[in-house]
Amino acid sequence: MIEIQNIGRQFNTRDGTFEALKDVNFAVEDKEFFSIIGPSGCGKTTLLKMVAGLIKPSSGSITVDGQPVVGPGNDRAMVFQHFVLLPWADVLTNVGFGLEMRGLSRKESREAAKPFLDRVGLTRFSEHYPHELSGGMQQRVGLARALAVGPDILLMDEPFGALDAQTRQLMQEDLMRLWDGEQKTVIFVTHSMDEAAYLSDRVLVMDTHPGTVREILDVPLPRPRDESVRRTPVFNELTAHMWHELRGMMGDPTAAAPE
């Protein structure tokens, strides 16, 4: 279980202290698919990077199975919005990169990476350079790199945010299938309501200025899910509710005022 307790984060700016996150509290169960959604600048990526151990909170604590997070760890792996592949390394070396950072030799990590490249369906591209691949393929490499280190927890930072709509939908379905087979804990940051509802067990809606928990929604859709759930009343109600909440935060004078 991942427990986030009383997390706060302040930045010092010219105009004084800026509160990015305030009193954030929630817990993510093992094997849960947990999404965080919120308007731009609400601190959701910052929060995810805190769980990854890349950013330290100003106050509060994060624990994984009772152990405080003090830095990156073998139990967690991250998937990035802009893929962040090594442009000078071929696909297979990229997939093995996390293993290499954990002490395997280049050769061993490339060998160990093969089944994971296979799992995302890119075996025949193993010796291509990243720039020779489409965005969707590049993100599959990013996903395979994260899976290769065998983490219990996948931290995904708007992983499909840089992809076109069709590719994005395909990637969601693939991720869904992979997750059904792997049963890992996933924290998934997104700004797409549709994506959050489709993939998640629960969705945390974040408020902004300062970033804090507005509400946590259960997604009562049966698994395994496929495309058809997008047309169910439950799905539509859920996304409509999220839209209502988010719209209220976006400062649009024509939007319904938040309660």
């Binding site: 890349l54 991250m78 962040v84 950072m101 020779e132």
Partner: protein, 264 residues
Amino acid sequence: MRALKKQNKNRLLSLAGLLAGLVIWEIIGRLELSPAFPPVTAVLGAVFEVWSSPRFLDALKESLISIAIALPPSILFGVAFGLLIGRYKPVEWAFDPLVNTFLSLPLVALIPVLFLIFGLGRGSILATIIIYTFFIVVVNTAAGVRTTDHQIVEMATSFGASERQILSRVVLPSALPLMFAGIRISTGRAIRAVIIAEQVIGLIGLGGLVQRLGGAFAVEQLYAVILFVGLFGLLSMEAVSFVERRALPWILAQEETEPALQGA
């Protein structure tokens, strides 16, 4: 294929430019405007005589030995120092002004000082090569390090990379293209430096030969030596480019790639 054709076309243009230069030189030479411009055909006649003379070959050997001793460590330490300056702010603050000062100094003015320190021998020549090459490698490597994508550093950190791993697997590869540019420039400068330093001594190496031929107004022979130096510089820098293309295959691939494959 298209890239290859284009390359051949560019090669042809380079050759045409060179030929045009030679033709103009020949015309000026034939006009006998000045003893400083012998016709290019006369120089080419001297080329074979000079390039095979023992005097020339001994001088060449001397100059090559100096470059071979001074250039590799200069590049090696330049790269190491450049990595430190590019990666660590305190090192940059401490040494950046010094490095930039050396880059803007007219180094020729420093050569007498080097001779005061190291005497009239190879030591001074080596020192000259080093001050001509080291700082160029340092600034280029440091600039290369600064092109490192911080997102890649963060990614590596998230997978538990140590600082040493980040240096070798992220920062160094990021710096390679500019680092090689620095090495290429410094190779050309090493040749310049060795000639200049040898000219000051006036007795050894190609620089010494240039000095003596110049003093004797043996203009054709002088041009033959200068021609050799020019060609040698060109070939050396081409050799570095060759290594560069082998070492940076992804850069080449990026230049040749048509738009990325379509589909997810």
